[in-house]
Amino acid sequence: MIMTFGSAEGALEAMGREWMVEMIHFMQQLDEDLKKSGELVSAEGLADGSQAKTVRLQNGIPVATDGPFAEAKESLVGYWIVDVESEARAIEIASRIVAYVKAPIEVRRVMDAPPEV
């Protein structure tokens, strides 16, 4: 899984309009490329963190509060799940993304290995 964090608004504030336009085109191109290469399993954008709810136990009772779990700028906002030959390839894809997004991208394996017991 390749993950992006933050918010569209935060990004816009930091980077400005032209960057946003380029970034949208890049994302669409990336989706196309990954589909063509057969590496794309799924990709989703998440709704803004302000629309999230976080459910916690308070005194043993589940309570839902508004807002994401993590700080807004560190909150998950989108992901790709890719089926790739190696971790290096996943990092290569993430490197393309970080060049545009300019914020840290996390790459993490989905647990897909068969048990070897």
């Binding site: 816009l12 400005g16 946003m20 949208i24 803004d48 302000s50």
Partner: protein, 396 residues
């Protein structure tokens, strides 16, 4: 609307609204060459004596046509309609009604339906088989609903078809064929209903609305999937044949049956579709039609759309004032559209900073990625040295 007690009250409300609109419309500016849907509806109403015996008899005839007398042999048409009623059985949840309709009456495979609603195929297969089981458990048989229920059940059928159409039309991110399949299926099934129950004004209205809306589909997105609002659309890309068909259908229908929300929405779509350019849009007529729609089918979304028309006729501040009345409406509390429209009107009113904040609030609230990008970009336009020269009117 077909239960006799409510029917009279509804007709009174429509009558009042039409009288009011028919008086105001000329004051707000009669276009040079008006095609007046408003006058079509108003004139036939004012001329018809709805309280007279002949009118009462006509209503009873219309109700009788809905009874669909039993034929010695069931025809394929009867079967399709029966099936449609069954798929839209009130015991089912709305998603189940949609899925079952598309599977049993529409021509889609389970895989296609799953794809259209973005769920795994096995999930959709389960949803459909559970829906069938649910219908079986109600004891419903393969026959039309009882006469007393039929009009109400027809409204449910039309609502399901409307939702299918919207599902296909609203998702416009690039050339996704299965989505276009949904609008085509919705139109095909609505054609069938109209053909089988030609006296039903709302079925005709719904078909006209779908045709007049679908006509704009190609112009609604760019090649890369960005949204193009109505006022900016290249009208040469609109499907003229569909517009012609929708207009003809509406012409035949308006005034021959009780006015309902689908007919009114179709009339509004017709006014938009007939304008050669955004600037030539007959906004006073649209405003008057919304006023009638609000009587026939009141609700916050209608008010929201009316606010845009108010702004175009009476200035953005008047439109914003109307939006203000929606601020305390619970139903709009988590709806990004209120903020999106507010942003648009603030932009028209010359308040770029206020507009930017409203667009960003809307962007935060939407669950549609193309829409979020569109709203964020609109906000972005307003931060650099003031707003850009081109301003938009209306929504697509």
């Amino acid at each position: 609307m077909r239960r006799h007690g409510q029917f009279d009250a509804c007709e009174d409300a429509v009558q009042e609204a039409l009288l009011a609109a028919a008086t105001q419309w000329p004051e707000n500016g009669v276009p040079d060459n008006p095609r007046s849907w408003l006058m079509t509806v108003a004139n036939r109403r004012l001329v018809d004596e709805w309280r007279s015996e002949s009118a009462r008899r006509r209503r009873e005839e219309n109700a009788a046509i809905m009874e669909l007398p039993a034929k010695p042999q069931a025809s394929a048409d009867d079967d399709s309609l029966t099936l449609l009623f069954l798929c839209c059985h009130p015991a089912l949840s709305t998603p189940s009604q949609l899925a079952l309709t598309l599977r049993a009456v529409g021509g889609l495979t389970t895989a296609e339906i799953a794809h259209a609603f973005l769920v795994p195929e096995s999930t959709m297969a389960q949803r459909i088989s559970r829906a069938k089981e649910r219908i079986r458990s109600t004891g419903a048989r393969f026959e039309l609903p009882p006469e007393a229920d039929r009009a109400g059940r027809l409204l449910v059928v039309m609502h399901v078809l409307y939702l299918i159409f919207n599902e296909g039309y609203m998702t416009s991110s690039g050339p996704v064929l299965h989505r276009a399949d949904l609008t085509a299926e919705a139109i095909r099934l609505t054609r069938m209903v109209h053909r089988l129950i030609p006296s039903d004004g709302e079925a005709a209205g719904l078909l006209a609305l779908m045709l007049l809306t679908d006509a704009r589909r190609t112009a609604r997105t760019t090649a890369d999937g960005s949204i193009v609002p109505l006022a900016e659309q290249q009208r040469s890309l609109w499907n003229a044949a569909q517009i012609e068909e929708g207009v003809a259908l509406l012409t035949r229908t308006l005034g021959t049956a009780p006015v309902g929300p689908y007919q009114m929405q179709a009339a509004i779509a017709a006014v938009h579709d007939e304008a050669p350019s955004a600037d030539e849009t007959d906004w006073p007529q649209i405003l008057a039609l919304y006023e009638v729609l609000e009587r026939v089918s009141p609700g916050p979304v209608v008010t929201l759309n009316r606010a845009v028309a108010v702004a175009m006729v009476n200035g953005p501040r008047a439109g914003l004032a109307l939006l203000g009345t929606l601020d305390s409406d619970e139903r709009m509390a988590h709806n990004h559209r209120l903020e999106a429209v507010r942003g648009h009107l603030l932009e028209l009113a010359g308040d770029p900073l206020g507009a930017r904040h409203a667009y960003l609030r809307a962007a935060r609230m939407t669950a549609s990625l193309p829409e979020q990008r569109h709203l964020t970009l609109r906000a972005a336009r307003l931060t650099e040295d003031g707003p850009e020269a081109s301003v938009e009117t209306g929504g697509g």
